[in-house]
């Protein structure tokens, strides 16, 4: 997140898909892995050996069994099949990421454009509010939400989104400000074209291109944040097969029953890597100024 804040990425033109993929192996790998994760989640009910274990079912006499033919990833502290839960977990993380980023865009873009385009007092006030939220540790907000509204995926999503939008506001503001300063925009204003038209036709499309890359890179950051919050008990609750929650629950057993922690954690890592590679690849492709990876 920090490195993206410091390296500007201007817009470029997308090339033909196959050629692009061939020239960017990391993008290909990232796209493939991301696809695997999404498909695993989509087809979980078919792929999973014990689908009921992703819901309310428990098997108190089969707890903490090591990996075997019947349970390739072993069973957890409630006797539930871990492979099943890992597969179903693939539905949750990308979904949270999509929701968070959607909310962050819906809130952040209009604010950023308003700040950049109108400037002056509006800009100052909006930027100060943005700064306050930027300095706010995401954890505290998530805690408050969890306590007031009880911990859940929905509330975690909201909490993370609330700490995410400031980054986009900042990003969009910079772009909007530079677009607003361009001559044709000034000319349009002088001619009396209404603000709304200028905003929709010119400012908006030119401001959000860096955002596209940013969003794709942020997917894995959101997934990591959400799983950290679940790890702390502030997010998804049992029996939801959220990976962070599974690592958290397995923590006290992990020196004696390592499989409770290893598999869900590896899933988080794999997913985060997949979307990072995808984001990196997209950035390479959309920014012709960069030296391409060979």
């Amino acid at each position: 997140m920090i490195e993206q804040a410091l390296t500007p990425t201007p817009a470029g033109r997308p090339a033909r898909l196959a050629a692009v993929l061939r020239r960017n192996p990391l993008l290909t790998v990232g796209a493939a892995l991301s696809l695997i994760v999404v498909l695993a989640g989509l087809f979980a009910p078919i792929l999973a050996p014990h689908p009921a274990d992703a819901y309310v079912a428990t098997h108190p006499t089969e707890t903490l069994l090591p990996p075997s033919g019947l349970h390739p990833f072993g069973t957890d502290q409630l006797g539930r099949d871990i492979l099943t839960r890992v597969l179903y977990g693939a539905r949750i993380s990308p979904l949270i990421a999509v929701l968070v980023l959607l909310i962050a865009c819906v809130v952040g873009i209009p604010l950023g454009i308003a700040a950049g385009y109108f400037g002056g007092l509006i800009d100052d006030v909006l930027m100060r509010i943005t700064d306050v939220f930027l300095a706010f540790p995401a954890l505290l907000l998530a805690l408050a939400f969890a306590a007031v509204l009880s911990p859940s995926i929905g509330n975690t999503t909201l909490a993370i989104a609330l700490t995410w939008w400031p980054w986009y506001t900042r990003l969009v503001r910079g772009q909007a400000a530079s677009v607003a300063g361009r001559q044709y925009v000034e000319a349009a204003r002088a001619l009396g074209v209404p603000h709304r038209r200028i905003l929709l036709r010119h400012v908006l499309p030119n401001s959000i291109t860096p955002l596209i890359v940013q969003v794709s890179l942020d997917v894995s950051a959101v997934i990591l944040t959400a799983s950290a919050l679940s790890f702390l008990g502030l997010g998804a609750q049992d029996p939801t097969p959220d990976w962070g929650l599974m690592v958290s629950q397995g923590q006290s057993y992990f020196t004696t029953q390592w499989w409770l922690v290893t598999f869900p954690g590896a899933a988080i890592l794999l997913t985060a890597v997949a979307f990072n590679l995808l984001g990196d690849g997209l950035r390479d492709v959309l920014d012709p100024r960069r030296v391409p990876t060979r």
């Binding site: 309310v56 428990t58 108190p60 006499t61 409630l78 009880s150 029996p239 004696t256």
Partner: protein
């Protein structure tokens, strides 16, 4: 790259490598040897900070595990014999009406401050405890006044009959201390600075607040019990929140005994040479309080259905030895415990029948229940998940809410009954060795809920609760019969489910001999009673 730059890089790499090499040698995994000639040291590994407060009158937290070695009460409860035994008092008797209790004190007892203990000191410390009214001071509620007619006699005058010998053995608020220890200074402030003024076998040597080796105690030379024979002369409290750390320290011999670790880690010490393991039931019982005043559980049939729907054995098996089913509400080791009571069993068919009678179950009205438990407690989380799963089979949806205790409690005490939970999971344990605690706190009618979080109100039960304490003061056998009757009543009405009692799983070096678990003093290790091997 220029030579200089390259050279600098190599130097940096060398430093990094150097640090790593040094690091790999500097681990502490060797066995430590007790310092020769200085007597044996008992190191107790605990999971959280010990000295939360220092005032023996108001201490109500983890500090009691240390205070019970620095301070003493008039009496002590022995859970193996279920008797009250002498400690600072050698004998006592109550008047036939249970309103006057006379205690004869032990002579030759010295405070760590040097003074000799007399009845004036006993009166002064208990008076002060009552006056400060903090922590567990409520246990002295029955006391009207205290007299000290002679240096070795203390007389308690009570407002109503109560088993004062049991009260005087309490884990909290019953210590006898030197009220003149601070001289002209404020005593409370003096205590909080990290001082103690007890009569117990160990006195304070060193306190390192917030450090891993938090507390060091040393033998008090003038202890009335004397130091003949092998004894631990030093007592160290070491705080390691992580169970894995504790296990490692025990394995390498750096600690003598571990307060608590996970059942899985504890099993790795069972039947191992060089280690001894114990497991004994505690008096900390887990209860599921069912809302008898509002919602579907107000119907007794529904409550009984829920009681039959829980797979109790499965729960115990999933806890891997950390819990034990008990008969009734009073745990074993405490008088008032009754073995053959009509306890609920796992009977899903009976549950279904009862639900159908009440109009619920498959085909009937849908039911959603809200269950709250203490956030962060892994055992309660497990139990909640199991209950949710068990009840789901009967078409009952359980909405599980983990809450921090203050939030859970606030919700249970909401003035609007619709805001309260249907099922509340929490632990209960007595402040002194008396089953009365469960009944007066949890099941007595309350106009505004405090701890009766099943909101149960039964005048017949109230009457029995109101009379059982004076029975306990005058005729123990009659009291036991009353407790049996009360438990039978509660098991039938099912306002709460007594799910299990926690099991203390301790692991220690085999050189530690003579350890006997005493659930009346949770997690307290009386090192004076141990024999170093």
């Amino acid at each position: 790259m220029g030579v200089q730059r390259g050279g600098r890089r190599i130097a940096v790499m060398a430093i990094v490598l150097g640090v790593l090499t040094v690091a790999c040698h500097g681990t502490s995994t060797g066995k430590s040897s007790p310092s020769a000639g200085a007597g044996a040291t008992f190191t107790y590994d605990v999971t959280s900070q010990v000295m939360i407060g220092w005032d023996p009158a108001t201490g109500y937290s983890n500090e009691v595990i240390a205070m019970n070695n620095m301070y003493e009460q008039l009496t002590r409860y022995d859970s193996t014999t279920q008797q009250v035994t002498p400690l600072l008092a050698t004998s006592w008797q109550s008047s036939p009406d249970g309103l006057t209790w006379t205690f004869t004190l032990r002579s030759g007892v010295k405070f760590h401050t040097g003074r000799t203990m007399t009845s004036e000191d006993v009166k002064a410390s208990i008076d002060r405890t009552i006056k400060l009214n903090g922590g567990a001071a409520y246990i002295w509620g029955p006391v009207d006044s205290i007299d000290a007619p002679s240096p070795d006699t203390v007389i308690f005058h009570l407002k109503y009959p109560a088993p004062l010998d049991l009260i005087a053995s309490a884990d909290y608020a019953a210590y006898i201390y030197d009220t003149r220890a601070a001289g002209s200074e404020d005593l409370a402030k003096w205590f909080e600075q990290g001082h103690e003024a007890g009569t117990g076998p160990y006195e304070l040597d060193q306190w390192n607040k917030g450090q891993e080796i938090e507390l060091r105690l040393k033998a008090f030379p003038d202890y009335w019990g004397g130091w003949n024979g092998p004894h631990y002369t030093r007592y160290v409290f070491r705080v390691t929140p992580q169970a894995t750390t504790a296990a490692q320290l025990l394995r390498s011999g750096q600690v003598s005994m571990v307060e608590r670790m996970t059942p899985q880690l504890w099993q790795t010490f069972q039947n191992q040479n060089g280690f001894t393991t114990t497991d004994d039931p505690s008096w900390q019982t887990l209860l599921a309080m069912l809302n008898t005043s509002y919602g579907p559980l107000a119907d007794e049939r529904v409550r009984q259905a829920v009681a039959s729907a829980i797979d109790y054995q499965g729960m115990i098996s999933a806890l891997h030895g950390g819990a034990e089913q008990i008969s009734g509400f009073v745990p074993p080791g405490l008088w008032g415990h009754v073995e053959d009571l009509p306890n609920p069993t796992y009977d899903p068919q009976r549950a279904q029948q009862l639900l159908a009678q009440a109009g619920y179950g498959p085909g009937g009205k849908p039911m959603t229940l809200t269950l709250t438990y203490v956030q962060g407690d892994a055992d309660e989380e497990l139990v909640a998940s199991l209950m949710k799963s068990d009840l789901a089979k009967l078409n009952i949806t359980v909405d599980v809410r983990p809450l921090a205790w203050p939030a859970q409690w606030a919700k249970a005490k909401s003035s609007n009954p619709a805001d309260r939970q249907d099922i509340l999971l929490f632990y209960w344990w007595p402040d002194y060795a008396d089953p009365y605690s469960w009944f007066i706190n949890l099941f007595h009618t309350e106009s505004k809920p405090y701890f009766n979080l099943c909101y149960y109100s039964n005048p017949r039960l109230d009457h029995m609760i109101d009379t059982v304490e004076s029975e306990a003061a005058t005729d123990r056998h009659k009291a036991i019969a009353t407790y049996k009757e009360m438990q039978e009543l509660l098991l039938k009405a099912a306002p709460a489910l007594s799910l299990y009692t926690q099991v203390y799983q301790r692991a220690m070096l085999s050189s530690v001999k003579g350890f006997v678990e005493n659930p009346a003093y949770p997690n307290v290790v009386f090192a004076y009673d141990l024999t170093p091997g």
